[in-house]
Structure formats: structure tokens, C-alpha cells
């Protein structure tokens, strides 16, 4: 089903991206090395003596050369052992295992809401190009783009939580405790991030749709007697969604970054919050572990985006230059 050229592309992608993951983790190791704060000092506190610090550093293996430490970490990582947090002595892998699903859930709900708002809006804005609706959506977009995510969040908290009391201002309910409660506590954080991404998606889809709607085959669809909805959704949407799919993939980077702020604002225990705490506390292994997960995630997302391309556009599937 997949032509040879497309399969070859995917194979190259995998190899390149594995290389990138290694480079990213190596770079992080180097960067954390320059963090002037000392992990041992952070653990023992201000009252520690020189001797204590030195012995703790030896115990943690911080005296060894950088390359040795990286190789050691890498070897362990490949077997699933990401070390322990300096601060809490928990296994990093366990911590990530607990927190990653939370962030993933947040991102998934965010994307669903964002696309659920942006796709209809983009279609309508394109179809009713230059009308009042289009201008209104454009104004909303610029407004949202000019507002930082945490302000959107605070705004939502004020209206939907403080004033109306419909949603909690912070806190997280585990799905094992209550699925409804979980969704309830995730709604405002996800809506915040979704509103931040909405303008990007909507404007992209709108632009592509406007271009697609001017193509000949749309005129032909009209000449066949198809109605507006059939034309917009059946004929125009798929060719217009290529850029959107790419951006959804690339955007996940922004979303993880956004998740950091939003998790802090709403007190959601995801890996974003974990990363920020780790950086504050110079918790090297925690930083490394999260970066590894994030970089690997990007690899997989890029791959998925490429696969989606193949599914959406049969010209790519057959290796044809479009």
C-alpha cells in the first residue's frame, strides 16, 4: 500500500530522529553541568559543611568527568533506569510514569477542544470570507494571540470559577478516583491551552481552505449539484488539512511548554511541573529524564505526522511529486 519512496523516507526519518534524541540528551547533560547551583548544596541546605558537601558529591558520583557520567546514564536509561531524584530519592522513572499520563491527558483534551473549535471556525471563516463573521473571528484570533496563556487562564478562572463557580480554580482529581471529577478538574487548564492554540489552527485552516475553494474541482462539485456542506466537508476539507496536520505535530512542542505554565497555574501534577521544580532544585537526573521523554515524544510525533501525510494525500503515498 505504501510505495517504496515513502517507506524509505520513513526509515531515514527514524534514524535521523534517534540521532537527534541522543544529541538532545547529551546537550542537556552539558547544559545542566553549567548550572552553577550545586545539587549537593541544594539537598543539604545552607547549613551544610564543606566536608558534608564533598562526601555527598562523591556519593552521588558528581566528581566523575562529564563524559563518564553521560555514558553511565545512557547505559542505565536504555535499560529503563533513569536514576533517582536527588531531592526525594524516588526513582525518576516512577515519577515520570506517574506524571506523564497526566500531561498527556491534558494535551489530548487540549487538542480535542482546540480542533473542535478551530475546524468549524476555519471552515466558516473561509466559506464566508471577508464577511462580518470572518472579521469577528479574525479579531478574536488576534486578541487571543496577544494574550499570554496564563492570563487567559486567570481570566477563565475568574469568570468560570470565582464568579460562576462552575469549575475548580486549581487541583487535580485522579481518574481512578472519579472520571467525571478528573475531566472536571482538567477542563479549565485544557480550555486555557486550547484557546491559546485556537488562533494558529483557525487561521491556517482558513488560509488553506480559501485557496482550495478557488480550485477547479470545487466548481465541478458545485456543477454536480452537491450542497454546501458536502462540498466543504467532503471535498474541500481534506486537501486543506495538510498544513494543519503538520502544525498539530509541531505544535506539541509549544503545548508541552505551555503545559509547564498551565500546570503551575492550576496545580496539575504533570511532567511540566516536575521539570520546573527539577530545574529550581538542580535535580540533574530528573531534568535528564524529562528531557529524554520529551525528545522521544517529539520523535514519535514527527513520525506520526509523516504517516498522517501518507494517509491524507494519496499523491504522497505513491511517491508522486505534487
Amino acid at each position: 500500500m505504501i510505495g517504496a519512496p515513502a517507506a524509505r523516507r520513513i526509515r531515514t526519518q527514524i534514524l535521523t530522529l534517534v540521532a537527534i534524541v541522543f544529541a538532545a540528551t547529551a546537550l542537556t547533560f552539558a547544559v545542566t553541568e553549567i548550572l552553577p547551583g550545586d545539587a549537593a548544596v541544594a539537598i543539604l541546605g545552607d547549613t551544610a559543611t564543606e566536608a558534608d558537601i564533598k562526601s555527598l558529591r562523591a556519593e552521588l558520583g558528581l566528581e566523575r568527568p562529564l563524559v563518564v557520567r553521560y555514558a553511565d546514564w545512557l547505559a542505565n536509561a536504555l535499560t529503563g533506569d533513569l536514576g533517582r531524584s536527588y531531592r526525594t530519592r524516588e526513582y525518576i522513572a516512577t515519577m515520570i510514569g506517574q506524571r506523564l499520563p497526566v500531561t498527556i491527558e491534558l494535551i489530548i483534551i487540549t487538542q480535542i477542544i482546540a480542533l473542535g473549535l478551530a475546524v468549524p471556525a476555519g471552515i466558516i471563516a473561509a466559506y464566508r470570507n471577508r464577511s462580518g463573521v470572518d472579521h469577528a473571528l479574525g479579531a478574536v484570533s488576534i486578541g487571543l494571540l496577544s494574550t499570554p496563556a496564563f492570563v487567559i487562564g486567570i481570566g477563565l478562572i475568574y469568570t468560570l470559577s470565582v464568579a460562576l463557580g462552575w469549575f475548580p480554580a486549581s487541583g487535580y482529581v485522579r481518574p481512578s478516583d472519579s472520571i467525571l471529577g478528573n475531566l472536571h478538574s482538567m477542563f479549565l487548564p485544557a480550555l486555557t491551552l486550547a484557546l491559546a492554540e485556537f488562533p494558529v489552527y483557525m487561521r491556517l485552516l482558513r488560509a488553506d481552505m480559501i485557496a482550495t475553494l478557488q480550485q477547479d474541482f470545487i466548481l465541478v462539485a458545485r456543477a454536480k449539484g452537491l450542497g454546501v456542506r458536502d462540498i466543504l466537508v467532503g471535498h474541500a476539507l481534506r486537501p486543506s488539512s495538510l498544513s494543519l496536520v503538520t502544525v498539530i505535530g509541531i505544535n506539541l512542542g509549544r503545548l508541552v511548554g505551555g503545559a509547564v505554565i498551565i500546570e503551575t497555574l492550576f496545580a496539575i501534577p504533570g511532567i511540566g511541573q516536575m521539570l520546573v521544580n527539577a530545574v529550581y532544585q538542580h535535580d540533574h537526573f530528573a531534568i535528564q529524564g524529562v528531557i529524554l521523554v520529551i525528545a522521544t515524544g517529539f520523535v514519535l510525533i514527527n513520525l506520526a505526522v509523516d504517516m498522517a501525510y501518507v494517509l491524507l494525500d494519496p499523491r504522497v503515498r505513491h511517491g508522486v511529486d505534487s
Binding site: D216, L219, A223, K224, G225, L226, H235, P314, H318
Partner: protein, 325 residues
Amino acid sequence: MTEPLLQVRDLSIRFDTPRGLVHAVNNVSFNLMPGRTLAIVGESGSGKSVLSRAILRLLPDATARRSGQILFDGKDLASLGEAELRKVRGKDIAMIFQDPMSSLNPVLTIERQIGEVLELHLGLAAAARRQRTIELLTSVGIASAEQRLKEYPHQLSGGLRQRVMIAMALACRPRILIADEPTTALDVTIQMQILVLLKRQQRETGMSMIFISHDLAAVGGIADEVAVMYGGRFVEQAPTERFFKTRLMPYSEALLKARPNPFAPRGARLEAIAGRPPDLTALPPGCSFAARCTHQQPDCLRSVPPMTALSDRRYACFHPLVSVA
């Protein structure tokens, strides 16, 4: 005498553009009889494509202003509601376009693109649709039709794609087929095949056809009647044979003469028509061709020559080439 299938009366189309009001089509009237083919020829900018799209009201509502009537089966298409109009499009009146590559949706299969017309207008179920699609593809001369079903437009050659377009248009057995320059974008060898195909389909189904072209040669073999268009107006209309024998309006004459003659002696000049087509935002008060006409007279510049009938021909000229008693 049979009733005409399509009656266009005094159709005018104007476009709102930043440069001004473009008078693309001006007071065009004609009748189309059942089973007959009318060819509309003219230069680029003569309004023939706009006219062809106007019949099915495919022009953008925002900028196009219509006046006149388009009577089909006693109903005025110009005043029909959108929902009613959609029942006519693709079913009673179908259209094929110039460029088959851009006219087919690149991300949908052949089966899907033909099938949706069958589903929409005939309400066929999946199995029946598949069957009928294979029949259609075969009838337009596509071999191994069954394999083609799941293919995409980019996997077919230009000629095959145009055949698919024709199959798509004929799917619901339309009574009128509007063909807007269907062979212009194709290789010369394929052009002939497509013309033959169209003629055969017409004979088999008895449908009428409106064939738009700038190429008089293509028109000769397929049309029963020829109408020449210039500056948004019909300037001459005649049965094909009589048209190719004699022309009445100087523009038609010049158009015919302008075709490169492969048998002309060496060094013979190409007969082009001097000047440029008229500015459609500012049409002259008289005959729109007068400025370029070698037979121009003072009264040609004063008023627009009306369409005059002469047995089974019509022409719009104050001083036709052949003196008429």
C-alpha cells in the same frame, strides 16, 4: 415543430470589480433543440466561458449580476431557488470543463467522485453505484474499468482523466451537456478521440450539447449549429455547413481566415485580426467589433447592430459580407 429544450432570453452578466463594471455577457439569446449540438466560438474574453457557467448559475453570487431568463423545461433557471437548482445540476444539465487535472479532486478516488453523483441524484445503493460506475467508465472507453475505481486522478493520463470527467457528467443521463473547451488542454491525438466519444454519446442518448471552443476546426465535426461570440454578444449564428460555406459578419470571416493553413504556400503570412478585444468595462456605443473591422462604416459606430434573421441564420451586422436581398 418541437419545443426548444433550452431557451436563453436576453441574458446579461455583469461583474463588480475594482476596475469597474465588467459587461461580460450582453443580451444573449438562443434556443437549443433536443438532440442538437450548438457550438459557441470566440476569442478569449469574448464571454463564452462566463455564458456557459451562467446557465447553471455557477458564477459567484457576490460579484455577478444577472438579468434575463434561462428557460429549461418551462422553468426559469435564473429565478429558481438554490435547492431546486441543485436538483438540475449534474442531473438534467451537466457540465465538463477544460482542464481535467484540476477538475478532479486529487484526494478522492474515481469511484467516489463518480459515485457521489449517482448517490445524490439517483439514490443508488453502494453495490448498484459500483456497477453503474464500471458501466460508465467502460462506455467512455476506459479499459479495465474495475481496477480504475480505486485509483486517484494523478494516476491517470490526461485523456483518461477527461474520459472520467465525461463519465461523471453523463452518469445521470443529462438532457443537456455543456462542454467548456473540453479538448483544449489535451494532446492533438487525444482531442479527436474525445470529440468522437462525445458525438457517439450524444447519438446514443439523444442529449443536446453546448460546445464552447476557440477552435473552429474542432467545432466543424461535432456541431449542428455554430454561434460566434464577440464582446459578450452573439454576432452570428448559422447551421454548421452553411457557416463554413459563407460567413455574413466580418468578424466570423476574420476568425475563419485566422486559422493557420497547413497547405498555404511558403512565406504566406498569418492572417491575424488587427487590434485588441474591447474593454468590457467600457463598451463602445456601436458595434463592438467596428474598431477592428475592415468594412467599418459610420453607422457601425453609432448603434449596436441588432440580430437579424435570414432563413435559418442570424447575424448582427449593418453591412454583412454577402448582400442580402
